[in-house]
Symmetry: D2
Subunit: 157 residues, 4 copies
Amino acid sequence: MGNGLSEEPTAGTLQGTLHRLPVRVYYADTDVSGIVHHTNYLRFMERGRSDWMRLLGFDQRSFLESSGPDMFFFAVRSMSVEFLKPALLDDALVVETQLTELAGASCTLGQKILRGAETLMTGQVRAAFLGQGGRPRRLPAEMKAKFAGLVPATMSL
Amino acid sequence: MGNGLSEEPTAGTLQGTLHRLPVRVYYADTDVSGIVHHTNYLRFMERGRSDWMRLLGFDQRSFLESSGPDMFFFAVRSMSVEFLKPALLDDALVVETQLTELAGASCTLGQKILRGAETLMTGQVRAAFLGQGGRPRRLPAEMKAKFAGLVPATMSL
Amino acid sequence: MGNGLSEEPTAGTLQGTLHRLPVRVYYADTDVSGIVHHTNYLRFMERGRSDWMRLLGFDQRSFLESSGPDMFFFAVRSMSVEFLKPALLDDALVVETQLTELAGASCTLGQKILRGAETLMTGQVRAAFLGQGGRPRRLPAEMKAKFAGLVPATMSL
Amino acid sequence: MGNGLSEEPTAGTLQGTLHRLPVRVYYADTDVSGIVHHTNYLRFMERGRSDWMRLLGFDQRSFLESSGPDMFFFAVRSMSVEFLKPALLDDALVVETQLTELAGASCTLGQKILRGAETLMTGQVRAAFLGQGGRPRRLPAEMKAKFAGLVPATMSL
């Protein structure tokens, strides 16, 4: 690049406790009914969660590649989603992500996909904390401290 | 084929009100954590719903390609899923599908993914009935009659 | 299953050196232009190659999970594909797979996707033999012996 | 957004005849062998081609939704790709796209995926120009004029 612009893909922005990630709809995201296939909204949501982690300073790949007690990854345990309005080819969307609950071995994130001011879908995703061999474990300490500061004040830990 | 075997892909079996579809896990279904990516279970569930419709005698493509008042398709409106145990590369799974509720402009299906006797995930999927321009409509009459016979007796229509 | 039917997903049939796998087109395979998205034909081709291996008696997961010198997997190194006619929602397709060339650290497969007598696409896929850490290696001996018997006679090894 | 930043997803940059699009690798792009699944590089390439069109000022959705002689879309007719080095979870990649050949009813694009200075894959993609009913057609005039200026000088039209 001769023009000094960064070419790093955006990881969105974190404003207070709310993460926002811009996402574009491409051909591969759509289906024959003319709109985004319902499973692909869930892929957009995953990108939001991943970049939220990235902006918090956590490197998921190094956790995943660690051995022994440092090995750590998230696994989606349950999700509940409402599809309100369809997204179309070429749409510019925003994925919103926010931590809503933190428990000993899992957390819950509230997510939305928007097109401008319109909410296209909403979802709650519960992710378990897993280690070596897929066994449940507690959050790494640094992550726990950071997460605790992101849960709305009315939530009890 | 010189051997007289049918090469039609299976659409599973319908036993009473329960549809069962065998599904294989391939490389493209997995992710770097070593298991099936959570969105791909939802693709398996879609195959189950599609083949359940096929065995009931309905041709989704001809409904989708119809014009005017005959145009008809389903759109997933909401889903709630629990991921209980992971599926792995090469696993032979079964997707179970059953109609659990029938309303004027939508229905709800209960689905499970199993590996042998183990339940790997469960989900409830509400699908809206849509027509021309994505507007809500009632079920085509023949479909309504067939669906009504498949809802457990305790459900009111 | 009370009816004695096997519910194992089909792995297709191997007739001489030609493997044939039936595949159904579902919503998730299509895009807004109304046909199967070009990358999804390549997923169908992968299913063909995987089930060809399965019918030859090789268990890709156990090779992948082995440690040390037994660890083994295939990686696509190059492919060349022609998309001749589109496939549509609900189409019943067949993926044909055949070994066309065997070299020290890679092999080439010729593949086709058909709908009845029509050829929808053709492709050549070269797969490298990789081991621990993604390093090139030779084929496991038993696999080499079996592969050698499947290459057309005019090919030199 | 209170901070005045644009949240439009990037469409990359066009420098002379070369388009560059930054792309991030997420979980859904990887497979159990630990790297990006080969079909997902092709999805990244599609994003590059789409955003190249966008920066040239063409709106694929409005062409696709047009009726009669204005209806227009691209369909991939053939592709030839080399996978040189694997991409991993969280990698920041760049997709390069360049028009290399322009014919009456199709064009060829040369594409690369890079991670910093490393080339991970290269590909040539031939796209046909299609209209109503998927019939071959000529490029819309404005597009033809713009494309002609982007083909390397040594190519004859």
